[in-house]
């Protein structure tokens, strides 16, 4: 059975590129347009991995990460941050909030799949 990934980004083009890459590798993809939308979908579907942007309207990726880690299903699920942010301070915040890894945009599809394969098992 294909593993499901929740891809969260307010940019439609990024969501499409992520979905294209992941679907091509056999994953099922659920898309969310911001943190709030992602939280709703994370509650509705028990996904195997969350790949989220940080700077988004309504709810940012760090808040989403923090809230997801409080949900029993998402305590140990890999959550990767895919963002333009590359500062150490932001990375430290993400790490403290329970992020599994940090990927700086733009992403390379092969490397993205390698990382996902590594953390999703």
């Amino acid at each position: 059975m294909a593993k499901t990934i929740l891809a969260v980004d307010d940019s439609a083009s990024i969501r499409q590129m992520v979905a294209f890459t992941l679907k091509g590798a056999g994953y099922e993809v659920i898309e969310a347009v911001d943190g709030q939308d992602a939280l709703d979908k994370a509650n509705a579907y028990k996904v195997n991995l969350v790949l989220t942007d940080i700077n988004m309207p309504r709810m940012d990726g760090l808040k989403l990460l923090e809230l997801l880690r409080k949900l029993s299903h998402y305590k140990a699920i890999p959550i990767l941050m895919l963002t333009t942010e590359s500062g150490d301070e932001m990375k430290a915040k993400g790490r403290a909030a329970g992020a599994t890894g940090w990927l700086v945009k733009p992403f390379d599809p092969k490397r993205l799949l390698e990382v996902i394969g590594k953390v999703i098992g």
Binding site: S11, S13, G87
Partner: protein, 193 residues
């Protein structure tokens, strides 16, 4: 500059009233002009954002279509290869092998295009950041303009310069951290915690 002298108190008051009116309308005009100027910058930034977004949307549609066609082409070559083998003539087999190489190369190029096509997101974030900076600068300049006495006779070029510098410094302090530091479209760093 001609200095007008009032003849009596009444005239003095009339003259003062005139000055106040002119002063206020000039100030109002100044602020309106500044507002319009900053607004025009924001309108232009929005225009750039719309153009970039539109171009990215079209490119993504093109990308998906080319990708679909490439997959069909790949499958077709495989099917022809199966039909041709093992009786197929050597030139046909060689031609099909060349076709497979071309199909693989197109796929590799499409993968690279995925990285490049993310430029829209970076540009949009930078434009939003710049628009916020422009807005903050406008607000600070207007605030300092209201608080200062630039219209008084004692106004000097230095005071004007100091006022603008103060506005820029406050705008800089109030501006949020720049969300995009990338200078190119090379793949970003990856770190697993």
């Amino acid at each position: 500059m001609v200095e007008m002298q009032p003849d009596d108190g009444k005239a003095d008051n009339q003259y003062s009233d005139q000055l106040v009116t002119v002063g206020l309308s000039n100030e109002a005009l100044c602020n309106t002009e500044a507002d319009e100027y900053f607004m025009s910058i924001k309108v232009e930034l929005n225009q750039i954002d719309r153009l970039v977004s539109d171009a990215v949307n079209n490119l993504v549609i093109n990308f998906r279509y080319i990708s679909k066609l490439t997959k069909s082409h790949h499958d077709m070559v495989l099917a022809i290869e199966k039909m041709a083998a093992p009786e197929g003539s050597k030139p046909i087999i060689e031609l099909l092998e060349k076709q497979m190489i071309i199909a693989d190369k197109i796929e590799q190029e499409l993968e690279m295009a995925i990285t490049s096509l993310q430029f829209g997101d970076l540009v949009t974030q930078l434009l939003a950041h710049t628009a916020r900076q422009v807005e903050t600068l406008n607000i600070e300049l207007q605030r300092i303009d209201r608080q200062s006495n630039w219209k008084s006779e004692k106004t000097t070029l230095q005071a004007t310069h100091e006022g603008i510098s103060k506005a820029v410094n406050i705008a800089n302090t109030k501006s949020k951290r720049k969300p995009v530091v990338q200078q190119g479209m090379q793949m970003g760093d990856i770190e697993l915690f």
